[in-house]
């Protein structure tokens, strides 16, 4: 079976691991506060999240055992699987708040749309690494990636989950721009994109989704609805001041003024209790992972590794940015979690797997094509 080369230990990026563990520890502590005092029934969220961290850790170990190159083969089976799951939730998934998103797995509810983000990263990385064009991609080369992104995008939009669908779009744009396209492609993309936007506003978006966007443009319009959530979040964060109110001493969160305080608005709790200093500390660690990830992309051994690492960083980065800007009142409430921090099994596992891939790329940075373990696998 599989034998692990000692060089992997040598090349393994312990610093990255420590950073990730530190952020995860802070996130768990924050989740404990966000769901404090513990409710009398059911497993408290932080306990569930603990188990999921362990599960995700095992997943990372599993991922590290294989060369990430294996994904070049496995990406299409995974892609087909996720499309199947997305179709399945649409047909038979558990619904909440009018949206069909989940498959109940007991410990947590699997949200295929979360996993779809990571699969898309892998798929696009695979596609762009195979097709190289120094002068940039033309319109014809873009048809396949657009279709690969469009299919899960539409399935998720249908749930409806505008936020996650848009995330897919953002991942697609980030990776495509990174891969370099011709200016004609940009122009056409821009025109088609804006047409699609206008079309969507009038025919596709549900009223509540439009309302969220309108609220952002004019928060006073809807003080008790979406605007209320954002306002309470700003009050929570702002009232933290420089030093914060102290761990477990936030009032906005514990007195329920803050909505969704252990999911989308989890960082508001941190901001309220830890203040500016604590927030900057946390964000520094968090963004250090991202920068480290980009460094991993820069040092990757091959084109696929670069795209994989870059895509994973973008996946986490954009979610984090959108979530933080929402919490701080710059964006509408779109339901994008803060990876690692927000409570939610699918998001956490997806993020941990993504980090697993990142570590994998980092760990195998010195290897050449004559992959030793792969040869051993063949034996």
């Amino acid at each position: 079976m599989l034998r692990v080369d000692r060089r992997y230990f040598h090349n393994f990026d312990w610093g990255l691991l420590i950073l990730i563990l530190a952020v995860c520890a802070m996130a768990l502590a924050n989740l404990y506060s966000a769901s404090y005092p513990p409710s009398t029934y059911g497993m408290p969220p932080y306990m569930k999240q603990c188990y999921l961290f362990l599960l995700g850790g095992m997943g990372i170990l599993f991922i590290l055992c294989f060369d990430y190159k294996a994904l070049l083969f496995w990406n299409y089976p995974f892609y087909c699987l996720i499309i199947a799951l997305l179709v399945y939730v649409l047909v038979a998934g558990n619904s909440a708040g009018g949206a069909q998103r989940w498959i109940n797995l007991g410990l947590f509810k699997l949200q295929p749309s979360e996993l779809a983000k990571l699969i898309l990263v892998v798929t696009l990385a695979s596609y762009y690494s195979r097709k190289e064009d120094e002068s940039g991609y033309g319109i014809r080369e873009m048809v396949t990636p657009v279709l690969l992104t469009g299919l899960p995008f539409l399935l998720i939009l249908k749930q409806p989950d505008l936020g996650t669908a848009l995330m897919l779009g953002i991942i697609f744009v980030s990776m495509t721009v990174f891969a370099k396209v011709r200016w004609q492609t940009y122009a056409l993309g821009g025109i088609l994109g804006s047409c699609a936007g206008v079309f969507a506003w009038f025919y596709l978006l549900k009223d509540y989704q439009k309302q969220r966007i309108e609220t952002l443009l004019d928060p006073g319009k809807d003080p008790m609805g979406q605007g209320y959530q954002i306002l309470q979040s700003k009050i929570a964060v702002g009232s933290g001041g420089f030093t914060g109110k102290g761990y477990l001493k936030g009032t906005q969160g514990h007195l329920h003024f803050l909505p969704e305080r252990h999911t989308d608005f989890a960082f508001s709790v941190w901001g309220e209790e830890m203040g500016f200093s604590g927030s900057v500390f946390f964000l520094t660690a968090y963004f250090a992972i991202l920068v480290w990830g980009l460094y991993a992309a820069m040092t990757a051994r091959d084109r696929f590794g670069v795209f994989l690492a870059f895509g994973v960083v973008m996946l986490i980065f954009w979610q984090a940015v959108i979530n933080l800007l929402m919490i701080l009142g710059f964006l509408p409430v779109v339901g994008i979690p803060l990876p690692l921090v927000s409570y939610g099994g699918s998001s956490l596992l997806t993020t941990l797997f993504a980090l697993g891939i990142l570590m994998n790329v980092r760990m195998r940075r010195f290897q050449t094509g004559q992959n030793l373990d792969m040869e051993k696998v063949k034996q």
């Binding site: 964060v237 702002g238 420089f242 964000l283 920068v291 980009l294 084109r303 933080l324 063949k378």
Partner: protein
């Protein structure tokens, strides 16, 4: 494990290094973007948490801290003997805080069903509160019984936004006794609120609307307390943060004697009489009784009087809303004759021995001015003139004294001027002078009018309090005390803040020697053989007094009618004023019965009954003595 096409994939990942390097260069740009966003987020955090941190902290506290006022118990009102007349009890109101309820309509429906209430009443209360801030509690039900209280308290989770408010409410231990003097409370009006310190008053507060409750609002109201509690987003209280106990109002002890006042009011009510009963300590100015009938139904005012009840009070021909002791004016009639006599004696136009002949009328300027006794009194001196109330005698005294001198003397007795008593809307009365008529009507004074003035008719108007004041001044030998009704104000700890002190309004000069004669004449009114108030006599007590019958109209068509047949509103007013004991006076009692016909019969018995109560011990002791003597 065998992966088909593996080698092929292997080759794919080994594309040339030049392309890889340009790709990697682009990562630097991505890193720049990432750092830019970090900077953006951190600066936003700085703006929210540091730059505007204090403001958001305030808003967070506003969210979680609910400050509610705790009404202060109003000061108690006691009578002169320390008996509690008005105190407080806790009353419980069901209130709605709209801010804490996300669906007021459903809530109201649910509450109405649960408590079996008429829902339209609740809607009305809500409509009244339109435009008020949403965190101000609206009183839906006032002074609820304990079943309702228990139900709402036990089911508070089902009615978010509904709360129980405990506020002190007035208890009237003597029901409506002294209602006009004490007054009542009501919810503060928008106008009153605008005129007052918002630090002290807020909407929904009770405020004195009439009487002492209004005049001494500042003493009685106390200081509100407050309780700050932490609430969660649904409005449920989590913990008490700060509690400031309210400071009760100051207690006011009145000079009124509740029992005596009750006797007066009951006697008037028993005879279905409208009018006033005033009793005063002659040597201090303490008011013992200030009764006005019909009494105000105070209980109707608790929690706001209904429109129907208010209109009934307005339309009542006996005018219960008017405090007849000071707010109503009547011709003094024969009670004025002591004053006329005093003016005559003081100016020297008569002596006590001067005699006038009364043939039953007095002819002046070609007109006959009748005496009430058509047959005439014959030769009349001062004593008989007062005790038998001879009009003709006083016509002539009045003529000799002149209207201006009459007014001057009237002033010394407190007639025609506000006494300055601590009551609202006190009327000054009227003692006419020549100048007054000139000014008021632009006409010269007719001497014939002086005749009417001399016997207390004509333009003359007095309040019952003024007649009592005059009686007391005669009784005490010429000192006019300012009438007062507050004995003592003390704070909740019992410290006396102010204490009754007699205030002298006027002291007569040398003319006071003549008062002795007037006093003797007044004694004769009761104890004389032909006195007009012989019915008032009490064994064991010497009383001095005077009756009066004030004409309301001088209509010929009613002259020949029997008194009982004259319509109520045209009947004469009955006066009786007296003091006792005659040799060493203690109290003066004045009774006015509106349309009560004759002083001696209409008003006298009320005064007599009051004296019997006031001097009960003395009268009993006398009866005991008499019994022993017979043995």
């Amino acid at each position: 494990m065998k992966w088909s096409g593996y080698n092929n994939l292997e080759e794919l990942s080994e594309v040339d290094d030049a392309g890889l390097d340009t790709l990697k260069r682009r990562i630097g740009l991505a890193g720049f973007v990432v750092i830019c966003f970090l900077v953006l987020i951190v600066s936003r955090l700085w703006f929210l948490q540091v730059h505007r941190g204090a403001e958001y902290k305030g808003r967070a506290d506003n969210n979680r801290v609910r400050v509610s006022e705790v009404a202060a118990p109003r000061g108690n009102i006691l009578d002169i003997k320390g008996r509690e007349m008005v105190t407080n009890r806790p009353s419980f109101n069901v209130v709605l805080v709209r801010e804490d309820s996300n669906d007021v309509d459903t809530l109201i429906k649910k509450l109405a069903t649960a408590l079996e209430l008429d829902i339209s009443v609740l809607w009305d209360k809500l409509r009244e509160a339109d435009g008020k801030p949403r965190h101000i509690p609206i009183r839906l039900l006032e002074d609820v019984d304990w079943q309702t209280l228990a139900y709402v308290e036990n089911h508070n989770q089902e009615f978010p936004g509904i709360r129980i408010e405990a506020i002190p409410s007035r208890v009237y231990h003597y029901q409506d006794v002294a209602a006009h003097a004490i007054g009542y409370l009501g919810e503060i009006s928008k106008k009153e609120l605008a005129a007052r310190d918002p630090e002290i008053y807020s909407g929904g507060d009770l405020i004195g609307k009439m009487g002492l409750e209004r005049l001494h609002e500042q003493d009685l109201r106390g200081e509100k307390g407050s309780s700050s509690s932490e609430v969660n987003a649904r409005g449920f209280e989590q913990q008490l943060l700060k509690n400031i106990e309210p400071l009760p109002g100051n207690d006011i002890q009145l000079t009124l004697d509740a029992e005596l006042q009750k006797v007066a009011e009951d006697l008037m009510a028993a005879g279905d009489k409208a009018g006033a009963v005033v009793a005063m300590e002659v040597k201090t100015g303490r008011m013992l009784v200030m009764a006005s009938n019909p009494v105000l139904p105070l209980s109707q005012f608790v929690g706001g009087i209904s429109h129907k009840n208010w209109n009934a009070l307005l339309d009542n021909e006996k005018h219960p809303l008017i405090n007849k002791t000071v707010q109503a004016m009547y011709p003094p009639a024969s009670t004025y004759k002591m004053m006329t006599a005093m003016a005559g004696l003081a100016t020297g136009v008569i002596t006590p021995e001067t005699v006038f002949y009364c043939p039953g009328y007095y002819r002046f300027a070609g007109r006959r001015y009748h005496c009430w006794k058509r047959g005439g009194h014959g030769a009349v001196d001062l004593k008989r003139a007062i005790s038998e109330s001879c009009d003709v005698y006083f016509y002539q005294v009045g003529l000799k004294v002149g209207v201006d001198n009459l007014a001057k003397m009237a002033g010394k007795f407190g007639l025609g001027h506000r006494s300055g008593i601590d009551m609202e809307h006190e009327k000054g009365g009227l003692t006419p002078t020549k100048a007054w008529k000139e000014k008021k009507y632009g006409k010269k004074w007719q001497e014939g009018e002086t005749l009417s003035i001399a016997i207390g008719q004509g333009f003359n108007l007095v309040t019952p309090l003024q007649i009592c004041l005059m009686t007391a001044t005669i009784a005490n030998g010429g000192t006019r005390y300012k009438p007062q009704i507050i004995e003592k104000v003390s704070d909740p700890d019992g410290h006396v803040l102010s204490q009754f002190e007699p205030i002298i309004g006027n002291q007569m000069g040398g003319e006071k020697v003549f008062l002795k004669k007037i006093q003797q004449a007044m004694e004769e009114v009761i104890h004389g053989r032909r006195g007009t108030a012989r019915k008032v006599r009490i064994k064991g007590l010497t009383i001095a007094g005077k009756t009066g019958t004030a004409q309301v109209v001088r209509l010929k068509q009613y002259r020949h009618l029997k008194e009982e047949d004259i319509p109520y509103k045209y009947r004469d007013h009955a006066w009786f004023t007296c003091y006792a004991p005659a040799d060493d006076p203690e109290i003066a009692v004045t009774v006015l019965v509106e349309h009560g016909l004759h002083g001696g019969s209409g008003a006298g018995p009320v005064a007599r009954a009051m004296l019997e109560v006031y001097f009960a011990e003395r009268i009993e002791a006398y009866a005991e003595e008499e019994k022993n003597k017979k043995k």
